[in-house]
Symmetry: C2
Subunit: 332 residues, 2 copies
């Protein structure tokens, strides 16, 4: 199937009987041409199926009006909400997003960054703070604004928007200890950088309270069913475990479902806490203890900052810390 010759500005102008310049003015702002002409141009654009063309701008490398967005996973609800925040801002400003995912692998991220940059994207939003040297070099060479999302602590290439994953985990585990839990297991999946940062917070809080950390982790992708499986594995190995701090709400909900299946009472026999404060945990019974994180705001503010910088604004804050909130729910 071959792309057709698209109607040009000249085709539209010819049909209306005006100059190309008039059509161009109309496209920038319809009210800049006479009202009777506005209608005629609108009809001609529709009849001809006119499509604007960005290629000349892209070739001149001035602007593509597209921003690249990289997320580790498209099925992880955390990033769906970050994306929604980004898309709302970008869409309203007439920017298109080019989205790719890299399955939590820095080498795949490198390939995706190369591909996105080859379209002369104007800016780049990353969900990771760890990159290969070539990724960092390409971003430097491109000379475009880049913002790293999710993590406000790891060093950023230019600017980051997120929260302190380690501090959040530390604070939740402290709260669990304050409630009397002693044998707290940490359930982790994927073992990406953020899962490791959370594990550090967990270990820190356990060490301070002179408690033995019990981590049960896997490189598998997170899911409700995985939470159920990790619960079974943990109880088989450490039958005295009294609570679970899970790297996300999916695992935590899976733990609760499995407790319900096994007749284990939550929170009387087993306490459970998750991470991110998703709707699932907030609406289930008992309501899941979790760390409420600002996913939508991370996307929204990262996109806003990126567009501000594309409009010439300098970076005011290289670290934008959006915080989190501990919610003890009914499962601790």
């Amino acid at each position: 199937m071959n792309k057709k010759r698209r109607p040009t500005l000249q085709d539209v102008a010819d049909q209306v009987g005006v100059t190309k310049m008039t059509v161009s003015r109309y496209l920038k702002n319809p009210t800049r041409v006479a009202q009777s002409t506005q209608e005629k141009i609108a009809i001609a654009l529709e009849t001809l199926g006119y499509i604007p063309n960005r290629a000349p701008e892209i070739l001149a490398q001035s602007t593509s009006r597209a921003i690249g967005v990289l997320v580790p996973s498209l099925t992880n609800q955390v990033f769906a909400e970050v994306l929604r925040g980004i898309e709302n801002v970008a869409g309203q400003s007439g920017y298109q997003t080019m989205l790719a995912h890299y399955g939590y692998q820095a080498e795949v991220e490198e390939e995706r960054v190369a591909s996105l940059l080859s379209y002369n994207i104007d800016g780049l939003l990353l969900s990771e703070s760890y990159h290969t040297p070539r990724t960092v070099r390409m971003i430097e060479t491109a000379g475009i604004p880049v913002i790293e999302m999710m993590d406000s602590v790891s060093p950023a290439i230019q600017q980051c928007v997120g929260f302190d994953n380690t501090a959040a985990a530390y604070e939740m585990v402290q709260a669990m200890i304050a409630q009397g839990h002693r044998h707290i297991a940490y359930l982790g999946a994927r073992m990406d950088v953020r899962t490791q940062l959370k594990m550090q917070g967990y270990e820190l809080a356990m060490a301070e309270a002179k408690l033995t950390p019990l981590a049960m982790t896997t490189n598998d992708a997170s899911s409700f069913s995985l939470g159920a499986l990790l619960l079974q594995q943990t109880l088989a190995k450490y039958p005295y475990v009294d609570s679970f701090f899970c790297t996300n709400d999916d695992l935590a909900a899976g733990v609760i479902f499995e407790c319900q299946r096994q007749g284990i009472k939550v929170p009387e026999q087993i306490g459970v806490a998750g991470f991110h404060g998703h709707d699932i945990g907030q609406s289930m019974t008992p309501k899941l203890a979790s760390i409420i994180t600002p996913r939508n705001d991370i996307g929204r503010i990262a996109a806003t900052e990126l567009l501000d910088r594309l409009n010439g604004k300098e970076i005011e804050q290289s670290v934008i810390e959006l915080g989190y909130r501990i919610d003890l729910g009914e499962t601790l």
Copy 2:
């Protein structure tokens, strides 16, 4: 922030001491140049932070090696799985995806299609079978392959990949009636075309069994919490309802959570069925009755067909029906 002058093929060639043609050959396939040269070129590419440039190809309108993907929502897990299917195929074939969402609104879809086409995308994957006339006209003008996903019944512009939403709903409601349910309420959210198609299947099955349809619908976005709310509203209005057929698993899980809160036994007092067979329903207790749909396959096959057509293959089947499977779970 200004984009920098990027290193050219000539810059790389100069650093290695070879011709531009050699570097170009290497980029297409490293094994086409001598092994010692391969290493030198790799080092030069890395040191200079070389980024390939697609703009000349895009300007010639021959190919952008990008496909546009439109989904109604980024937070709806259904489309996250469709996207994963698409991305896996597109990424492996060296195609970039340009993703946008349109909030279930045909007018927003029109804007997004115009924007995507302005980048001279090579092909387009849509998640809707209803479009504005201008959307259809622009797609015709562009002369690119387009595939509509999710629905295998509504007429397609060129080709569609999906399943029969009405038949699936009809079959599930028939199964509920066969189990003895009589006062089956349909819970719908968003009221997009697919939700309406499912409602038709529900109404058909109810009419055939001479039962009175009881629909409780809203234009709000679907969520677990909305499922809980719709259950409350339905029971207030129709206290004799004995079961719920929900337009998706999120609403269905929300109904079950609310039943647990209110001490209503599922399935003894209230039967519940969802749609799509997500992990949440499959791992909760009791296991949710649902219609298992091939989301990942829809994305994978749609992307494969699109790339085949970009490689010159003709359409063999204009309707690709992927079917579904009824799973009665433990909630009916």
